[in-house]
């Protein structure tokens, strides 16, 4: 009997793990104005789920593979001068639609699609937890390792080149990390709301941060708090968990916005 036997504890740990990994990554998504990029990878995840069910491999592997492919495709297309938002729109929605169609072909398995669209955090098993924390740790290590290079490339690609950093390679690092976060987060908040977990905590943290590091740390706090409060509220009011977590994050965003404005006025 360990404390991991409690499904609520497993849920909280899973959510917090994802929130911590999503925070620094989400900051880059915000700074580089690639919010839609996260959405695209997440929508593609549904196709990943479908393929994983068809070939009976693990959902994590299927989602990781498809969002990675998606992210790489978008990266290389934009490097060749395609309009980013259009390409993302085409690929994200095509992948989502094809994924939904593909799921309908899966025979024999009663697929609860809602679980993949909106997450099923209360059903996180010990195995899921291991995958989530493994993925989150990989993302955090990757970002810590490349932090300075990533920041420089985000500031200005030419500045990065002058310092011997290849901005394309840093973009690739972000892309891989993004796919990884999508793959581990699908169980927690679902494909449709992963973008929210990436964007909202950094957006809330911006008001109180004067360095990039502080913004990332604060985003992790806001994300973790959203998960904890969201779980409690979902339990209390019997609401769907993933959407409740995102709603709490949105509320925290509003509170920090008001707080930030007050601090600015008083300071």
């Amino acid at each position: 009997m360990s404390f991991l036997d409690d499904f609520l504890i497993r849920a909280a740990l899973a959510g917090i793990g994802v929130a911590i990994a999503a925070a620094p990554l989400g900051c880059f998504v915000v700074w580089r104005r690639m919010a839609y990029f996260g959405d695209a990878a997440a929508h593609a995840a549904v196709l990943g789920v479908a393929l994983a069910l068809m070939f009976s491999t693990s959902i994590f592997a299927g989602v990781l593979a498809v969002s990675l492919l998606m992210a790489l495709a978008v990266s290389s297309l934009t490097a060749h001068g395609q309009a980013m938002d259009t390409m993302l729109g085409v690929m994200a929605h095509s992948a989502l639609a094809i994924g939904l169609v593909a799921v309908s072909f899966v025979q024999g398995v009663r697929v609860d699609l809602m679980a993949y669209l909106f997450g099923d955090i209360l059903a996180v098993s010990k195995g899921d937890l291991a995958v989530i924390w493994g993925g989150a740790a990989a993302v955090i290590l990757l970002i810590l390792w490349r932090w300075s290079a990533l920041l420089t490339a985000t500031l200005n690609p030419d500045l990065a080149s002058a310092a011997g950093i290849n901005p394309r390679r840093e973009q690739l690092v972000l892309t891989v990390a993004l796919a990884l976060v999508v793959a581990v987060a699908i169980k927690v908040v679902g494909a449709l709301l992963i973008g929210a977990l990436l964007i909202i905590p950094p957006a809330g943290a911006r008001h109180f941060a004067n360095t990039p590091e502080r913004m990332a740390a604060l985003a992790a706090v806001i994300g973790g708090l959203s998960v904890a409060l969201g779980l409690w509220a979902a339990f209390q009011f019997d609401t769907p968990t993933g959407p409740t977590i995102v709603s709490v994050a949105a509320a925290l965003f509003v509170v920090s916005g008001v707080g930030g404005a007050l601090v600015k006025r008083l300071g």
Partner: protein, 249 residues
């Protein structure tokens, strides 16, 4: 001693030739200014020198381990990215307080250390960028229209700062500019670029060269010449493209 040597360098984007057969050598302590109309390949040339752009033909030779400081044309820092001047100068590698302080002092921005990048004025921002380029104690300092958006006294002061830096560090300076008369006064060598090197030499020499006048008109003492020439000028490198016919004065 040659810090950087470009030989017979060409850059093409798709079917478009941006630079053809450019030769350029940089030696320590000299200030080289590149002038040329819009689209003449000035920025591309700088980007080749810093290594951000690969030439389609020709070679770039850098002295082993040469330190290059780069001041970009302008740097947009997204307002969503919080960044103090101090933190900005510590990217990508951590730099000691003393080195940061010295660089800011040399760039004439000593008091800005704890400011947010987003709150700086245009002139302050350029000085911080200059300080950043000075951190590595560069042997070559590269400036891409670094005074764009500054007013006349502002850019004159900035160029004085550059000369001071050169005198102190003994670095080579390569800059691109539109403000011909301001820049020429402080240059050792001027290169007039228009897809190829039209002419080069001491500022007085270039200012009186027919190729230069053909591109910029002859009255550059006062305001900028918004004058573009009429003829298809031709000289030893062969310049076979049309120049627009327009006089806007």
């Amino acid at each position: 001693m040659k810090l950087i040597e470009l030989s017979d360098l060409s850059v093409r984007f798709g079917a478009q030739t941006i630079l053809s057969h450019v030769n350029l050598t940089l030696t320590p302590g000299e200030i080289v200014t590149i002038v040329g109309p819009n689209g003449s390949g000035k920025s591309s040339l700088l980007r080749v020198i810093i290594g951000a752009l690969r030439p389609s033909a020709g070679s770039v030779r850098r002295q082993e381990g040469v330190r290059i400081g780069y001041v970009p044309q302008k740097l947009h820092i997204d307002p969503t990215l919080p960044m103090t001047v101090r933190r900005f100068l510590s990217l990508p590698s951590r730099v000691s307080d003393k080195v940061v302080g010295d660089a800011l002092e040399q760039a004439g921005a000593g008091h800005l250390e704890s400011h947010q990048m987003a709150d700086l004025s245009g002139g302050q921002f350029q000085r911080v960028l200059l300080a950043r380029a000075l951190l590595s104690d560069p042997q070559v300092l590269i400036l891409d229209e670094a005074t764009q958006g500054l007013d006349q006294p502002g850019s004159a002061a900035f160029y004085r700062q550059i000369e001071e830096v050169r005198d102190r560090l003994g670095c080579a300076v390569v800059m691109v500019s539109h403000e011909l008369h301001v820049v020429m006064a402080s240059s050792d060598r001027v290169i007039c670029l228009n897809g190829h090197i039209c002419c080069e030499g001491a500022p007085e020499h270039v200012a009186s060269a027919p190729e230069y006048r053909a591109l910029f008109g002859s009255g550059t003492q006062g305001a900028l010449a918004l004058y573009r020439h009429e003829h298809n000028h031709s000289h030893d490198h062969g310049c076979d493209h049309d120049h627009a016919h327009e006089t806007a004065q």
